[in-house]
Amino acid sequence: MEPASGLRLDHNHHLSLREFPYIIRWRDDRCKRCGKCTAVCPVKAIEATVKVQRLVKSEGPVPTPAAVRNITHIVEQVTDMERYCTGCGTCTLVCPNEAIEPEFNPQNKFLHYKNKGGDGYKRGGRRNDPALSTLDRLKFTRISMLTDPALDAGRHEFRVRSLLGRILPPEDLPLKLVNGKLTVDKAGIFIPPVREIFPIMIGSMSIGALSPPMWEGLAMGVAYLNEVEGLPVVMCSGEGGMSPRLLRSKYLKYFIIQIASGYFGWDEIVHALPHMVEDPAAIEIKYGQGAKPGDGGLLMAQKVLKLIAKIRGVPQFVDLASPPTHQTKYSIEEAVAKMIQSMSMAFGFRVPVYPKISGTKTARAVLNNLARNPYAAALCIDGEDGGTGAAYNVSMDKMGHPIASNLRECYLDLVRQGKQNELPLIAAGGIGKKGNLAANAAALIMLGASGVAIGKYIMQAAADCFGDEYNRCNLCNTGKCPRGITTQDPKLYRRLDSDRVAERVVEVFKAADVELRKLFAPMGRSTELPIGMSDGLSIDDPAMAERLGINYAC
């Protein structure tokens, strides 16, 4: 019989904590009830509440048990799916007594319920797949032993640099012999712009997706690496423009400006063009993103505050969704070529212009078209393990192509045409997923990449992002980033010190430089990046080895 009040005594339509991805472990004996954890929780998954306890007490020399009702204050996890614990652990961070911590619940049924209101689950972050990626299974097995001396990473001269830009085939070089010496005969020949860069770059993350101190910290770190450390690291703006002052500064040369389907920020960029004192490092035309193929960029309304609205040239507090594709795109032969040419022309053909696509089975078709286009400066392929500030969970988890085989087949396609040195390939998506930044980068380089782009790794390493492949935190889309990385809320982003971020960026890249040398030295490579040196790689799976055209070792 139904209770008259509508109250169901069996709680049948309530969720138990077992359905939730993270369960809060709270220790009554340690908690001093300061309230810091409940105050800091970005999703209000825990709350201070009052419980009545029945306690049986006995005092005196002989047992005289008596029940008493005791009122206690506790910290309790709510069972509302809209306020699920994301496992970020900010509560643990602020707790003075180590009384609270979220614990992953592998039996959770989170995705069964996270579709309230008929909309799919949206989040930020990366693909939730903690398994070892192909990149982390690749090993470097061609060690210089006895037949040739291994090089010394500390003593020999190393040149860990790559080229970004279209490179002329040797047969087309405008060279002529004058008195036994080669000279350049520039008449009527277009020599495409080429930049020498460090092979690891910071991938596209926009102002807007990132908080002001985060973007600023990255930018300062990159400028320091270039100006002081002599490490030519470049960074991509993402879609959302750049600060007007930076556009007019001498530091612009360290930045790749992205143009994507929403053209956000380009009004400001176009107006800054006549005042630029340096050319940008390159222009990236975003056609796709590995984390959410087929989706355009998305900046949720809650992140569109005054500064962002100004830079992007839009009203405040509106969802900024870039279309899935460029509206002008008719075909790769026509529209993409035109877009590459227009962007080249806007910068006087002095700046490399390249497209970025999401990893896809059709990447080779794109590649081959670009190979025929003399203005295409590179191709960036973003694999399924790439991250994003906001997307549907289903896109992130299930859409996309792993980067390793996609990059490899593209490289080998260029090899077949003899164009592997003409069109650099930039690989992205999941580099440093398990922390092995240099090893993953080196593996991709040896599979054929000229460079790699990182995003999540630098957020984790430089700004302590909580995110992982167990769906920890991943609140980037909500503007409630507890670390202040992906938020526009000053209360949150003031937690992040841009100087500290910059310092960490410098440390990360310097360490990666050392580690790359430590990898290349035993393989006897130091002068040029071992692009496509596939004989140096092995994997412990015969099918993977065959697919990648490398050795199988076990």
Binding site: S144, L173, L177, L182, V184, Q417, N421, R525, S526, T527
Partner: protein, 354 residues
């Protein structure tokens, strides 16, 4: 025989696993046959018939054949037929330019290789005027005796001799130095760690001769051919291709702008060593060059008209004892030693000066 005796003195530096010889500017019987291409190789009885039929079909007429007087040596497995045959060009090519003739010779050599390689019935090492190549597996000195080189009148002004098979790849005659293509020849001391990207780049040049690669050192010959013949660069640019200068070092070079572009476009041909390369070009220029860290030895010494380019000093002592050894040249990382045709002049070209 001299170069082989010199190899013997350097025995500690090689494993004596094979002998490869390329002879240029031939004397003896071949002196009068300088304009005719010489096909050098090995074949079985069956292969000989196939080869004869094939050459006939292509229109080549046999002018002269040299075969070594084999002296059986324990440990060297004698094959049926070793040969160096001078042919006359087919009528269709007699009056063609040297470039067209070179193309025909190379394509013919590759075709023979393709026919004979699956069952190892024919090996063709070189097919070019005034050049002979001999290769066999075994101790160099014994192999030379086996071929009767100590008794034979086979003479040449330029001799490239290598005393070992390759190290990291299977022992196979096509993997044995020196390597030859269209008048360009080289042999290498050391291993090439950048082999795979270089091989892939060369194979992508659309030139049919860039094939084989049973040894990582074969690419050095092909880079030489590509740089000087295909791209038309003077020989010193070979050094700039395999060991490009740093941007700051280029500043001192008059041709720095060209070097900058070359460094980008020829990036995959950059080597990391450890290598020392000795080679010659069609005009008879010989050279020695080192990797950018000079990780392998190399010495040049001699007298006017006779120079020895060797891995080790003791080899030069054996070949040319009567010389002023204080004037021996030990090329360092920026150097390229160039000996003009007929060994008239030795020049040390420095990459920093250009």
């Amino acid at each position: 025989m001299e170069p082989i005796l010199a190899l013997e003195t350097m025995k500690e530096g090689h494993d004596g696993s094979g002998l490869g010889l390329t002879l240029k500017n031939l004397g003896g019987e071949f002196e009068k046959l300088k304009k005719y291409p010489v096909l050098s190789g090995i074949c079985s009885k069956k292969g000989k018939k196939t080869l004869d039929d094939f050459m006939k079909k292509q229109g080549f007429k046999l002018k002269y054949e040299w075969t070594p007087k084999i002296k059986p040596i324990k440990g060297i497995h004698a094959r049926d037929h070793y040969f160096a045959r001078a042919y006359d060009y087919p009528a269709s090519h007699k009056n063609k330019s040297i470039v067209e003739k070179e193309e025909l010779l190379m394509k013919t050599r590759l075709a023979i290789r393709k026919i004979g390689e699956p069952d190892e019935s024919i090996f063709a090492f070189s097919f070019y005027p005034d050049v002979i190549t001999i290769k066999e597996v075994g101790d160099p000195l014994e192999t030379a005796e086996f071929f009767g080189l100590d008794r034979d009148g086979l003479k040449a002004k330029i001799v490239l001799a290598q005393g070992r098979q390759n190290t990291n790849y299977a022992i196979y005659l096509y993997a044995c130095h020196p390597f030859f293509i269209q008048g360009y020849c080289s042999m290498t001391n050391g291993e090439n760690t950048a082999f795979v990207p270089i091989r892939e780049f060369l194979m992508g040049r659309g030139f049919p001769g860039y094939t084989g690669y049973n040894s990582d050192s074969e690419v050095f010959t092909h880079i030489l051919h590509y740089t000087t013949r295909q791209l038309g660069f003077p020989i010193t640019y070979y050094k700039d291709v395999i060991t490009p200068l740093k941007a700051s070092e280029m500043e001192g070079r008059q041709d720095r702008e060209a070097l900058g572009l070359m460094k980008q476009s020829l990036r995959p041909l950059c080597i990391d060593g450890p290598n020392m390369v000795i080679g010659f070009t069609p005009d008879g220029t010989c050279f020695m060059v080192q990797d950018a860290k000079k990780l392998r030895p190399g010495v040049v010494g001699g007298v006017k008209g006779k120079y020895a380019l060797m891995s080790e000093e003791c080899g030069v002592d054996s070949a040319i004892p009567k010389r002023e050894s204080a004037k021996d040249i030990f090329p360092m990382k920026y150097d390229m030693v160039i000996i003009s045709p007929d060994a008239q002049e030795v020049k040390v070209w420095n990459q920093l000066q250009g």
